[in-house]
Subunit: 119 residues, 2 copies
DNA sequence: CGGCATCCTTTTGGATACTG
DNA sequence: CAGTATCCAAAAGGATGCCG
């Protein structure tokens, strides 16, 4: 009678989703999709991100194989981040989600107003 | 020379993305896609969610127009949640993301192992 | 059954200072 | 420039008790 879906705590898709569905990952990957970008430039483009959050998120993205980190041994050092091949594939569903938010922004705002009136 | 993308703090897609990219929304919507589901049944299917987090997330999903809440005045009360038409459209990009996590789980785990060895 | 209110712990994140 | 380390404030989240 009822459905059968159960999201177990060890469900692999859950573990992975929790790695990518954060506030900054999609933004960072989208910026990197345009150009390989250096740390501080990335920080400027993702307005509001702190240095700490940015470096943490970049580290996680790198660890998960979505971003490549390239160090140029100039002086001072230049560190360039770029999309890995895996990161490129992730951008496909991300873009679909991004487009959904753009397409449905108004519908959501209308729903919010109606909800707030009901309360 | 550089790219031109800038994610402003007021960027509407950011504001909306932060509403849907949380730990539970995708799971809840996926369960509801199978059947309209009652609160405690939903809680059982999304293993690990607390009552507090579930009710908060459901409230937000309802406010954003993605979920409908229907109260049956039996005794005790039965509250049934279901996907709204808007929620149905959101599931499309969500499913693409879900599929990506399933398809690329192993690639990510390999990348992690390699990263951890490098450190 | 489906919550809300409260308390309390844990996590997150910002600010600052420091380093190669 | 590109971080790391530390400290502290803010927010999220679990546990519990209560209610219609």
């Amino acid at each position: 009678m009822d459905g059968t879906i159960l999201f177990h705590v060890d469900c692999p898709s859950r573990l992975l989703f929790e790695q990518i569905a954060d506030k900054w990952s999609m933004m960072i990957l989208t910026v990197l999709d345009e150009n390989p970008t250096r740390f501080n430039e990335l920080k400027r483009r993702c307005e509001g991100v702190s240095q700490k959050s940015l470096s943490q998120t970049l580290r996680r993205l790198e660890r998960n194989g979505m971003v490549d980190r390239h160090v140029r041994s100039t002086s001072p050092v230049a560190v360039e981040y770029s999309l890995s091949p895996l990161g490129v594939t992730l951008l496909v569903p991300f873009r679909a989600l991004y487009r959904w938010t753009c397409d449905n922004m108004e519908a959501v705002e209308t729903a919010r107003r109606e909800f707030d009136v009901r309360e």
